[in-house]
C-alpha cells in the first residue's frame, strides 16, 4: 500500500484560558496533542479506546474523552484540563476534597475523575449519590473502590457551597 505523507495542519486552541497553537498530523489524538504537543501532561492516557475515562477533559464546557477525539477536531475550541483547576497555587475545593476523603491512591485516574465531576457540578450543584455514580460510571479507578470518590464529591459540594457563601454577594463561580 502506498503511504502518502500525512500533511500537518495547524491547530489553535484555548486551554485553561491560555491560547496555544501547534501543527499536528491528522491522526494525532487530542490527548497526545495536549501531552506531547503542548506539554500539558496532567491529562493521562489510559486505555486509548474510550473505556477508562482517565483522559477526560472539558471541551467547550463538556466532558469528553480526549483519547477518542482528533486534535484537529478541537481547532477553535475552549479546553479545560486538570491543570486549570487550581488557581494561583491553591488547590480547587474539588481537589482538596479528593485529598481529604482519600478519593485517590495511585492517582492515575484522578485527572479524569476530577474533570467528570467538574462537569457534573456545573449542571447540578448538589447531585445525589445516584447522579454522582451516573456521572462517574465512565471513569475507572482500580484503587479506591469508588466509595471514597463519592464521599469526595459530597465534601466538594459542601466546600463549594461554603466558599460561595463567603464570597457572596457577587457569587463564586
Amino acid at each position: 500500500m502506498e503511504m502518502t505523507p500525512a500533511l500537518k495542519r495547524q491547530v489553535r486552541v484555548t486551554v485553561n484560558s491560555q491560547p496555544y497553537e501547534g501543527a499536528v498530523e491528522p491522526r494525532t489524538t487530542l490527548v497526545d496533542f495536549l501531552r506531547g504537543g503542548l506539554g500539558l501532561t496532567g491529562t493521562h492516557v489510559g486505555c486509548e479506546h474510550g473505556v477508562c475515562g482517565a483522559c477526560t477533559v472539558l471541551m467547550n464546557g463538556q466532558a469528553v474523552r480526549s483519547c477518542i477525539m482528533l486534535a484537529l477536531q478541537a481547532d477553535g475550541a475552549e479546553l479545560m484540563t486538570v491543570e486549570g483547576l487550581s488557581q494561583g497555587g491553591d488547590m480547587h475545593p474539588l481537589q482538596q476534597a479528593f485529598i481529604e476523603c482519600h478519593g485517590l491512591q495511585c492517582g492515575f485516574c484522578t485527572p479524569g475523575f476530577l474533570m467528570s465531576v467538574y462537569e457534573l457540578l456545573q449542571h447540578d450543584a448538589d447531585p445525589d449519590d445516584d447522579a454522582v455514580k451516573d456521572a462517574l460510571g465512565g471513569n475507572i479507578c482500580r484503587c479506591t473502590g469508588y466509595q471514597q470518590i463519592v464521599d469526595s464529591v459530597r465534601l466538594a459540594v459542601s466546600k463549594l457551597r461554603d466558599a460561595a457563601a463567603v464570597e457572596a454577594p457577587g457569587g463564586a463561580s
Binding site: 502518502t4 495542519r9 491528522p26 489524538t29 497526545d32 477518542i68 477525539m69 451516573d134 460510571g137
Partner: protein, 291 residues
C-alpha cells in the same frame, strides 16, 4: 495504540461531504467518533481518508413536525437526553438514550453515527426499528428516505451507499393509547447490552392489544423484530399470562444468535424472552395509564 496515517477533510456542507466520498477511494465518515476513533486507535479500521462531519452546518437540530420528530444526524446523544421535546413526544427514545455508554461518550456520540455504525448491541438501531423510524440520506443522486426496517443488513453494515451521508432521523411521536418499554441487561451500566428490548404496545378501544412492535438487540447480527411474539398479542386482552406466552415466542427465528465471551447464544435467547415479558408488562401498564 495510535491510528495509522490518513488524509483528513472537514467539509462544511453535506454536498461537499458527498463529493469527497465520491472522489476519494477508501474514505470513511467521522461523526461523533465514539466508535470509529477507538477502531482507528486499535487499527481495526485503517481508512485512507477521513471525512469529518463535525463542521458541517445544519445537521444538529430536534424539531417536531407532522407527527414525528425530525432529528439532525449530527445531534449529540446528550442533546437528545436533555431535550424536553423528546422526553414528551417520544419517551422511548429518551429512555434509551440514557442507557448509551456514559455522559462523556454521549457528549460526542451522535444519533446518525450510531445508526450508521449499526452495532448489533447498540440502543439506537433497536429504537429506530421499534419506532418505525425513517432515515434521510443524501448521496450523489440526491436525497432519499430509508425505513429503519431496510437499513440494517448485517454486523456493522447498512443499506447506506459508500457516498451516502445520513442527514436526518424521523421518529414518529408516540401514538395515543400506546405504552413503551426499554429493557436491557449489561454487566455494568454503560456497557454494551448482552441483550435488550425496545417495545411499544398500542391498546384498542376495547382495551385489547391492537398493535405491538418489539425490537430485540444484542442477540443477532442486526436488531430484529420479534414478530412471532407480536403476532401472539394481536387482538388479545392484556394479561400476565398473555405476555408470558408471547415472550416465549420472542426468540423464535433467532438462528444466528450472537455467542461470545460475554454470553452464550442460549443465555441471550433466554434474556430475550425474559426482557420481552418485562417490556410488555411495563408497556401495557403505561398504555393503560395513557388511556
Amino acid at each position: 495504540m495510535k491510528p495509522a496515517s490518513f488524509e483528513y477533510y472537514d467539509p462544511t456542507t453535506v454536498d461537499q461531504a458527498v463529493a469527497l466520498l465520491r472522489e476519494q477511494a477508501d474514505a470513511k465518515l467521522l461523526a461523533g467518533g465514539q466508535s470509529l476513533v477507538p477502531l482507528l486507535n486499535m487499527r481495526l479500521a485503517r481508512p485512507a481518508v477521513i471525512v469529518d462531519l463535525n463542521r458541517v452546518e445544519g445537521l444538529d437540530y430536534i424539531r417536531r413536525t407532522n407527527g414525528h420528530l425530525a432529528i439532525g444526524a449530527m445531534t449529540r446523544q446528550r442533546a437528545i437526553e436533555r431535550s424536553e421535546l423528546v422526553a414528551n413526544a417520544q419517551p422511548l427514545l429518551h429512555a434509551a438514550t440514557r442507557m448509551i455508554a456514559h455522559p462523556q461518550i454521549r457528549n460526542r456520540g451522535t444519533i446518525g453515527g450510531s445508526l450508521a455504525h449499526a452495532d448489533p448491541a447498540a440502543e439506537y438501531p433497536a429504537v429506530a426499528l421499534a419506532l418505525d423510524a425513517e432515515l434521510v440520506a443524501v448521496g450523489p443522486n440526491g436525497e432519499r428516505a430509508i425505513k429503519a426496517e431496510d437499513l440494517f443488513v448485517t454486523y456493522l453494515t447498512t443499506a447506506l451507499e459508500p457516498a451516502d451521508v445520513l442527514t436526518e432521523v424521523r421518529v414518529p411521536v408516540l401514538p395515543e393509547r400506546t405504552g413503551w418499554s426499554f429493557q436491557e441487561v449489561s454487566r455494568r451500566h454503560g456497557d454494551f447490552a448482552l441483550a435488550g428490548v425496545a417495545a411499544t404496545l398500542t391498546l384498542g378501544s376495547r382495551g385489547e392489544c391492537a398493535g405491538a412492535r418489539i425490537a430485540l438487540f444484542g442477540v443477532a447480527p442486526t436488531p430484529v423484530r420479534a414478530r412471532a411474539a407480536e403476532e401472539a398479542l394481536a387482538g388479545e386482552a392484556p394479561s400476565d399470562a398473555l405476555f408470558e406466552r408471547a415472550a416465549q415466542r420472542a426468540s423464535d427465528g433467532l438462528d444466528e444468535t450472537l455467542s461470545d465471551v460475554h454470553a452464550t447464544a442460549e443465555f441471550r435467547r433466554h434474556l430475550a424472552q425474559v426482557l420481552t415479558r418485562r417490556a410488555l408488562t411495563e408497556a401495557a401498564a403505561r398504555a393503560q395509564a395513557a388511556r
